[in-house]
Amino acid sequence: MTEIGRARLRTEDTRLVTGRTRWTDNLTPAGTLHVAYLRSPHAHARIDNVDVEAAKDRPNVVAVLSGKDFAEEQGALPCAWQVTEDMKLPAHPPMAVDEVRYAGEPVACVVARDRYSAVDALEDIDVDYTPLPPVVDMERAVQDGADLVHSDMGTNASYTWVFEQGDLDAAMRDAPVLLERRFVQQRLIPTAMEPRAVLCEPDGSGPNMDFTLYSATQIPHILRLMLAVVTEIPEHRIRVIAPDVGGGFGSKLQVYGEEVLALLLARRLGRPVKWTESRSEGNMAVHHGRDQIQKVTLAADRDGLVKGLKVELLADMGAYLMLVTPGVPLLGAFMFPGIYKMDAYSFTCTGVFTNKTPTDAYRGAGRPEATFAIERLMDDLADELGVDPLEVRRRNWIRHEEFPYESIAGLTYDTGNYEAATEKALALFEYDKLRAEQSDRRDRRDPVQLGIGVSTYTEMCGLAPSRVLGSLSYGAGGWEHASVRVLPSGKVEVVTGSSAHGQGHETAWAQIASDRLGVPFEDVKVLHGDTAVSPKGMDTYGSRSLAVGGVALFRACDKVVEKARAIAAHLLEASEDDLEFGGGRFSVRGVEAAGLTIQEITQAAFAAHDLPDGVEPSLDSDVTHDPENFSFPHGTHLCAVEVDTETGFTRIRKYVAVDDVGTVVNPMIVEGQVHGGLAQGIAQALYEEAVYDADGNLTTTTMADYLLPSAADLPSFTTDRTETPAAGNPLGVKGVGEAGTIASTPAVVNAIVDALRPFGVRDVPMPCTPERVWTALREGGAL
């Protein structure tokens, strides 16, 4: 049976697409109370008084509470990543008590019998604020005498983290080519299709009270542990369920104040409480992504060989450090060198507090920023030397025969073939033909110019070897758990600690189990996302599900087969060594007729009438898999844009993505991940930006202002693959969840800059809006 590699439709899609399913907001147990939050309208202010009396008198209102009411029990939201010993980690109350530090921070809540009454009553809560100076500019925030986000810390710098390898001074000193650039990674809002929602149901009373907390989260297991730590409610009294979850992109890799408060409210009121955010509320209060200022210097010789790379980052943390906030830019620290060889590298990152929504993981988390910088630099290096951008890459990249290769950042790239992916991409793109057209348009002074952008990326994903996380001072491991339960009838339940929120686990995991056990695909049920059903797990982020959780399942299936083999040998009166397993059946080598199916062995194990000595009556297995290495997907993306030099409008004419994600379990799911990733990466290049005004107010709270592309705005993508199996896991798989996002942003911006170089344009800040392109053209001076 060859289920691995089969393009199956996703079995979960009917219910997900129609919405007739268990979204958290669809769940309303009898007696549920509804919560609404009042949020700070100020970026920075002291809370002098919160008057809730009038709100309490509104119809259907059960309780109105402010931060003071929770002060004794709410604890502080966790940060699991102490990146340096002296990292400044301010206390982060789930609900603000004395001071608000970003617009959108919860200040009070109403609990009512229905959602309308709860929201209406918010208008009767009266808060006295004394505005404090807002810190909105990262570069000014780290200057002497700057206003402070946390006055008791004495600085807005949370930490400075340094990585150095090789003699950078030497590399820079003699370099005939030095490129210094400043790139801004704008702030992005993750915008999962399903907004956040939490429902907490209490059961019992007093110290024996149990809680079932439903949340639209990526991390039911981590959330359970963290809720126990924050609230001091014993972990075994908390059950967390992530029912169907409609996307996350990192934004639901978080422990949110609203989740903690749901637990506290359920305990206080003894009734189920539910909260679902609105889109505008979410834009302010879901953690944001990116937001870095990058100063990068690349040293090369006249042949275009890269000698060294220096990276200095300011990374906006926002007002508080949330679950992995400080670590996100450091995931990029290892990726700035990309696929290139060099002698020296230095990386310095300072995490900066501002009076803005906290940042944290967003699809790619650190790696898109790094890839953008190096891929933009390689295009500029090509321009500087007057060679083709692919040629300059060829001169510097790791050749396929050089793997495994230890990068200058200390990673061991296990496998890869950049040459093969690039050749395939060039052919699909018709590179030479488009270059000829570009030249023709330049000669004709066509108002619509053509640009070609290149991005040859790799990334580190499949987070992560626990020992590596330990060396980076992360607060947990990076393993994943899988259980296989073979039911008496021969059907199979697979339990995974990986928590699906749109990726298609139920299909892909069933394919793996079906393939390995030789049972029909339809006979496998995948269970996930409930700490009572799947008690062990590290959840879903960092393109880790298949590369870690899928491998755990692969190994667990093999364990089942080995258990079955012992029973089969006994029943067939053959030596285990003489048994062959294939298509779900053990047979005696050379005696085809003598054999037993895995279902027959299951029944024998269940009956347990005739088992070999010392063999337990079960085929079930558990594996907790800790990866030895990251996985390193790579690929070559080529983008052609048409830029209207009169209006500044950019249209993507052609986009070719050739990705190498190793062995593919379900090509259709992989293609979907690539398409979605491309859309999000292109969106950073062209459309999305969270904009704050000088007072620290977010001005992009609706989708009219925070622009997302739809299918109508995107080209028809041409995708293809090369398959270089990962060496670090028996499935040969690499992560694919973030690759498209990581690769595409620089491909698009490189294409725009390529189109405009004859006009004196060297850069366009992201998002490359028509007005910014138009401005860059005017400032280029050649129009």
């Binding site: 959602r115 309308y116 929201v119 209406d120 609105s278 505008s280 009169e646 209006t647 409008f649 062209l686 459309y687 904009v691 001005t699 992009t700 609706t702 009219a704 202002d705 622009l707 997302l708 592309p709 739809s710 109508a712 705005d713 809006t769 028509p770 007005e771 138009w774 401005t775």
Partner: protein, 286 residues
């Protein structure tokens, strides 16, 4: 959506609607397709005492021939307008501009009259109505029926000449004579986004000479505006590339365009000039 509380009224006929409106109070709002009003309610930017829902007033959805004009009922949906044979034949500019409004879901709910009565200068249809010298048909219990030319209808940002007790019942769009060409040039960042600038234009040529030019600009001020300076320059002349280019340079004359995240005022002025040239060119080359 969690809007503030309001009283909900649902008349069954036009007469009943017109009678209900004054009784519903000064702060009542008329609900048609809801594509502008609902977001305002959701964001709690509007607190109407009452909503008068026109959904059951079937007569307002009709599109009919009226001799030298067609009359588009106020609650005809965008989808209906785009596909209506009368509109396509006699008001092709309306059909073309309406097809660019938002996305299919919005076009199935949103209405022609609703867009005009909402009077958002970023909306596509006010500039079209202005360019076509359309006439708004209004009705109230106190004043009966009244006709308001488009030039007088758009008073200020999201403000029309309609009285609080007055209902927009339809729009009379004159049938163009022979020789007209039309085009709507919309510039926006994504397909669903509002126009940063839009140009609605019609040009009538007789034997090569320009007899009449009408240009309405979207999002170039607090109300839709006519690019009069361009119209004057082209009237009576011929349409050489040079003449088009020269005249279009005046497209933004006298405009006070807004500045927002999608474009500064200067950029909008620039776009108005480029897009006017393109719109005129497109209107005269088909």
């Amino acid at each position: 959506m969690i809007p503030p509380t309001f009283e909900y009224l649902r008349p069954e006929s036009l007469d009943e609607a017109v009678r209900m409106l004054p009784d519903a109070g000064e702060d009542a709002k008329v609900l048609a397709g809801g594509q502008s009003l609902m977001p305002l309610l959701r964001l709690r930017l509007a607190y109407p005492d009452a909503l008068v829902d026109l959904d059951r007033v079937a007569a307002l959805r009709e599109i009919r021939d009226d001799g030298d004009a067609i009359v588009i009922g106020a609650t005809a949906t965008h989808h209906q307008v785009v596909h209506d044979p009368l509109v396509r034949e006699h008001a092709p500019l309306v059909a073309a501009a309406t097809a660019t409004v938002a996305d299919p879901a919005v076009r199935h709910r949103g209405t022609f009259g609703g867009s005009l009565a909402h009077a958002d200068p970023a909306g596509d249809l006010p500039a079209v109505a202005l360019a076509l010298d359309a006439v708004m048909l209004a009705r109230s219990a106190s004043g009966g029926e009244r006709e308001i030319p488009a030039r007088e209808f758009f008073v200020d940002w999201m403000t029309t000449a309609l009285e609080p007790d007055e209902l927009l019942t339809g729009v009379r769009v004159p049938k163009p004579g022979p020789g007209w060409g039309f085009h709507y040039e919309k510039f926006h960042r994504t397909a669903q986004a509002w126009a940063i600038v839009g140009v609605a234009c019609g040009v009538r040529r007789v034997q090569g000479a320009v007899e009449d030019v009408r240009i309405g600009l979207t999002n170039m001020g607090s109300v839709p505006v006519r690019a009069s300076a361009v119209e004057e320059r082209l009237g009576g002349g011929t349409l050489s590339d040079g003449a088009l280019r020269e005249a279009s340079e005046h497209a933004a004359d006298g405009c006070e365009p807004p500045a927002d995240l999608h474009g500064s005022a200067d950029y909008r002025r620039h776009l108005a000039r480029v897009l006017t040239r393109r719109a005129l060119s497109a209107a005269t080359t088909r």
